[in-house]
C-alpha cells in the first residue's frame, strides 16, 4: 500500500511539472532559446539545419528534391519528414501544441494557418517581411501572391500566418471524349442540377464509367471539403453571427439530399473514395465528370494519365450562391519554437519565390508548376499554352471568397472548411454522419439532429458565446 501511494505521488509530481511546462509554454521556449545559443554559435560555421514537417503531395516531394539546390547555394541543410495527410496533421499539432519544438517549418492546411498563429504556435510573418531590406522585398514581391490566397493564409487579428507553396480552388473537370460520344455539352457556368443531369446521362458503371467521381470518404478534409462547397452553394452555413448552430435549416437539408442523389450517379462504393481514389478514377477514364481541387488538373495533364488532352474545365457549380470555389491547399509556417527562424524564413521565401516556380518548370515540366500561388505564374504565356487548365484555375482562385463563405454573414471565415480550431473535431462528426446517411445506415433527420447538436456543443464548450 505504501508503495502504491508513493508511486501515485511521484506520478502526480511528474504531471505537475508537465503542466508548468505547458501552461507557461512561452517562457519554456524562451529558456530553450537561450539554452541552445551556445550550440548555435558552435554550429554557425555550417549555417545549420532546417527541419520541415511536410504532407506528401507531388508539390512537396518535388520541393524535397529541389531543396538540394538550396543547400548547394546557401550551405543550409534542409531535412524533411514526409507523412500522409492524417499523420502529418496529428504530428504537427502534437509538436507545436504540446511544446515539442522539433520542427522549424510545418505545412498547414488552410483551415489551420490562422488558428495556429492565434494560438501562438507559429510566427507572424508580417513583422518578418517588414524587417527585410527593400531589395529582398521587391525580389520576393509579396503582392504577386493572389490576394484571395493571402487572405486565406492569414489570421484575422495577426496578419499573414503562412506562405502558400501551392494553392487551389475547386472546379469541374470533364472527359471531353465521353461528352462527345454522348453528344453532351458542359455549360459555361454549370449549376449543381446541370451537373447531376449530365452525370446521370454519362453514368454507365456496368461498363466501368461512373457519371461523376466525387469524394464520399468520411473525413473533415475529405467528403467535407467537397460537401462544404455544395452546402455553401445551396445557401447553408454552420453558425449565425451569435454562434448559434444553424445546421437544421431547409437549405442544409436540401444540400444533404442533393449530395446523396449525386452519389447515386457517382463511383461504386462512394464512401470509400477519397481524393486519391477519385483522382485515379478520372485519370483512368473511369468517370465522366470530376469535381475537386484545381491542382488535380496538373495530374491529368501528365504523360502517364489516360485522359491527357481530353479534359475540359468549368468553374465550381452554383445553386443559390455564386462563387462557391473553395480555397484549399497548403502553406508553410515557421514554428514559434524554431531555433533557426531566420534560416527558416530564408528557405521559406526561396521555396515560394518566382525563381522557384521557374526552377520547377525547368526541372519537372509545366504540369508540375506550383499552381495557384502567384499572379506572375499565370502571366507566363508558355505556361498558359502548355497547360489548358491554367486559365480556369486562375479564375477559380481569384473568385473564391474566404471571408464570405455563405450567403448570410458568418462569424467564421474560410470556405468549405471553416477556420475554427474545433472544426477538426465536429467536422469529423459531420463527415461520419454524412457517410452514414449516404450509405443508408441512418435517416436524414437523425443525422441532421446529431450534427446540429455537435456543432452547438462545440460553440458552447469552446466559449464562443461568452
Amino acid at each position: 500500500m505504501k508503495k502504491k501511494v508513493l508511486s501515485l505521488i511521484l506520478a502526480t509530481a511528474m504531471v505537475g511539472t508537465m503542466f508548468v511546462g505547458c501552461g507557461g509554454s512561452d517562457s519554456g521556449s524562451d529558456n530553450k532559446d537561450s539554452g541552445s545559443d551556445g550550440k548555435e554559435t558552435e554550429e554557425s560555421g555550417d549555417a545549420g539545419e532546417i527541419k520541415v514537417a511536410s504532407v506528401n503531395n507531388d508539390a512537396m516531394v518535388i520541393m524535397e528534391e529541389l531543396s538540394k539546390k538550396y543547400t548547394e547555394e546557401t550551405g543550409t541543410k534542409v531535412t524533411f519528414t514526409i507523412l500522409s495527410e492524417n499523420e502529418i496533421r496529428s504530428k504537427i499539432t502534437q509538436d507545436v501544441g504540446l511544446g515539442g519544438g522539433e520542427y522549424d517549418l510545418v505545412t498547414l492546411g488552410t483551415s489551420d494557418m490562422g488558428t495556429y498563429l492565434d494560438n501562438g504556435w507559429t510566427e507572424a510573418l508580417d513583422p518578418m517581411f517588414d524587417a527585410l531590406s527593400d531589395e529582398e522585398k521587391s525580389e520576393y514581391d509579396l503582392d504577386d501572391v493572389f490576394q484571395s490566397v493571402r487572405t486565406s493564409c492569414s489570421s484575422e487579428t495577426k496578419g499573414l500566418a503562412a506562405l502558400p507553396f501551392y494553392s487551389e480552388s475547386t472546379m469541374i473537370c470533364y472527359n471531353k471524349e465521353i461528352f462527345e460520344s454522348k453528344n453532351l455539352t458542359m455549360p459555361e457556368n454549370p449549376t449543381w442540377e446541370d451537373i447531376y443531369d449530365l452525370a446521370s446521362q454519362c453514368d454507365d458503371k456496368a461498363n466501368g464509367v461512373a457519371g461523376i467521381a466525387i469524394r464520399g470518404l468520411a473525413g473533415y478534409g475529405e467528403n467535407m471539403y467537397i460537401f462544404g462547397s455544395i452546402m455553401n452553394a445551396f445557401g447553408g452555413q454552420y453558425y449565425d453571427m451569435d454562434w448559434n448552430a444553424t445546421y437544421d435549416t431547409p437549405e442544409v437539408k436540401e444540400a444533404w439530399e442533393f449530395y446523396k442523389k449525386l452519389l447515386t450517379v457517382a463511383e461504386d462504393s462512394p464512401t470509400t473514395c477519397g481524393y486519391t481514389e477519385c483522382l485515379n478514377l478520372f485519370a483512368q477514364g473511369k468517370a465522366a465528370i470530376y469535381y475537386d481541387a484545381t491542382v488535380s488538373a496538373g495530374t491529368f495533364a501528365k504523360d502517364d494519365s489516360d485522359v491527357k488532352g481530353k479534359v475540359g474545365y468549368a468553374p465550381a457549380p452554383t445553386a443559390k450562391k455564386e462563387n462557391t470555389g473553395t480555397i484549399g491547399g497548403w502553406g508553410i509556417a515557421i514554428t514559434a519554437g524554431s531555433k533557426n527562424k531566420d534560416a527558416a524564413f530564408d528557405f521559406l521565401r526561396w521555396a515560394t519565390s518566382k525563381e522557384y516556380v521557374k526552377l520547377v518548370q525547368e526541372e519537372k515540366g509545366f504540369p508540375s508548376t506550383p499552381s495557384g500561388t502567384r499572379v506572375s505564374t499565370y502571366e507566363n504565356q508558355e505556361y498558359l499554352d502548355a497547360c489548358d487548365f491554367a486559365a480556369t484555375t486562375k479564375i477559380a482562385i481569384e473568385t473564391a471568397d474566404a471571408i464570405h463563405p455563405a450567403i448570410e454573414d458568418t462569424p467564421y471565415t474560410g470556405n468549405s472548411l471553416p477556420n475554427l480550431p474545433e472544426y477538426s473535431s465536429w467536422g469529423e462528426t459531420l463527415a461520419a454522419e454524412l457517410a452514414s446517411y449516404v450509405s443508408g445506415q441512418k435517416d436524414l433527420d437523425a443525422c441532421i439532429a446529431d450534427c446540429q447538436s455537435a456543432i452547438d456543443t462545440a460553440a458552447e464548450d469552446g466559449g464562443y458565446r461568452d
Binding site: 504531471v15 494560438n119 462504393s269 464512401t271 445506415q441 441512418k442 469552446g462
Partner: protein, 292 residues
C-alpha cells in the same frame, strides 16, 4: 507454480526486480498519467482556454454518448467472432497440414506469412488492390462474372474488418495449434486408429483434449491482441462509414487526434482498459476452471 519451496533463500528478487521496475516504469507511469488526465478538460487546440479540472464529466460524457455503445458493440462483435472463427479455422487448418507431403513445410510457411507482415501494409493492399470496387481485383472479378462489385468497406464494413482480422490472426492461432498437434505422441494416434475412430470423432474426442492447452494459449494471446487491433481499422475503413466499424482503440485515437480532447480521450482509454481487464479476467477464469 512455485517449485522452490524446498530451496534456500537467495537474492532472487535481485533478478526479478529489474524487469518489474522497468515494466512498471514504462507501462504504469504513463497509465497513471492517463488516469489523471481523464479528470481534466484540456483541448490542445485551444491553449487560450487552459487546462482545467473537469471532475467526472469526461466519464459522464463518454458513457452517455450514443456512439460509444455502438463502438463497444463493434468491439465485442469483433472479439467474439474473430476468436471463435480463428480457433475453428486454425484447428481445421492444423489437421489439414499435419501430414507429410512434398513441399509441406514450404506451404505451411506460406500460410503463416500474413502474421509476419505489418498490419497497415496488408490493410492498404486489401483496400486498394483487392477490394476496391472501382479499381481493385473486386471490380475485375465481378465484371468477369457479370455481377455488381461488392461494396466491402461501404456496406459491409464491420464484416470486412472482421474478415481481415481473421485473415491475419488465424495464422498465429495455426502456428500454436500446429505445435500442439505435432506433439501428439504417435502411439495415441495409432491406438485411435485401431479403435476405428473416424476423422472427426478422433479430432473432437482425442486431439482437441490433448492440445487444449495450446488452444487456450492461442486464444488468450489472440484475445489480447485482437482487442487492441488498430492498424487494420485505421488504414481500411477509418472506423466508418459513421462509426460502423470503429472499435475502442480507434475511438480513442479519433478523440485524441481529431478532437484533441486529451481529457475525454483519457477517459475512453481508462474505460477501455477496464473493459479489457474485465473480459480477460472472465476469460482466464473460464479457461482455468476448464483446466481443473
Amino acid at each position: 507454480m512455485n517449485k522452490a519451496n524446498t530451496k534456500k533463500k537467495d537474492h532472487s528478487t535481485r533478478v526479478l526486480l529489474p524487469a518489474v521496475i522497468f515494466v512498471a516504469a514504462v507501462t504504469q507511469i504513463p497509465f497513471v498519467v492517463t488516469i489523471i488526465f481523464s479528470f481534466l478538460k484540456w483541448n490542445v487546440k485551444r491553449p487560450d482556454l487552459g487546462i482545467k479540472f473537469n471532475g467526472i464529466k469526461n466519464f459522464v460524457d463518454v458513457l452517455t454518448a450514443k456512439n460509444f455503445y455502438i463502438v463497444l458493440k463493434n468491439t465485442l462483435i469483433i472479439i467474439v467472432v474473430c476468436l471463435v472463427l480463428c480457433t475453428v479455422l486454425a484447428i481445421l487448418l492444423g489437421v489439414l497440414f499435419n501430414r507429410k507431403f512434398p513441399g509441406g513445410y514450404f506451404f505451411r510457411t506460406l500460410l503463416v506469412m500474413p502474421y509476419f507482415v505489418m498490419d497497415s501494409v496488408v490493410g492498404i493492399v486489401w483496400k486498394t488492390l483487392l477490394l476496391n470496387p472501382s479499381m481493385g481485383l473486386n471490380y475485375y472479378i465481378s465484371k468477369f462474372f457479370g455481377f455488381q462489385p461488392i461494396d466491402f468497406f461501404g456496406k459491409h464494413s464491420l464484416a470486412t474488418v472482421v474478415i481481415l482480422i481473421i485473415w491475419q490472426w488465424t495464422p498465429f492461432f495455426f502456428l500454436i495449434i500446429m505445435a500442439g498437434l505435432q506433439n501428439i505422441p504417435d502411439d495415441v494416434i495409432e491406438s485411435a486408429k485401431i479403435d476405428g475412430a473416424n476423422g472427426f470423432r478422433r479430432l473432437v474426442s482425442i486431439d482437441i483434449p490433448i492440445i487444449k492447452k495450446h488452444i487456450i494459449t492461442a486464444m488468450t494471446l489472440g484475445l489480447i491482441n485482437i482487442l487492441k487491433v488498430f492498424g487494420l481499422v485505421y488504414v481500411t475503413t477509418q472506423g466508418g462509414p459513421g462509426v460502423s466499424s470503429a472499435n475502442l482503440p480507434y475511438l480513442t485515437y479519433r478523440t485524441v487526434f481529431y478532437d484533441w480532447s486529451v481529457g475525454r480521450a483519457a477517459a475512453i482509454a481508462v474505460v477501455t482498459v477496464a473493459i479489457t481487464l474485465f473480459i480477460t479476467q472472465k476469460f482466464f477464469k473460464a479457461t482455468n476452471k476448464d483446466e481443473e
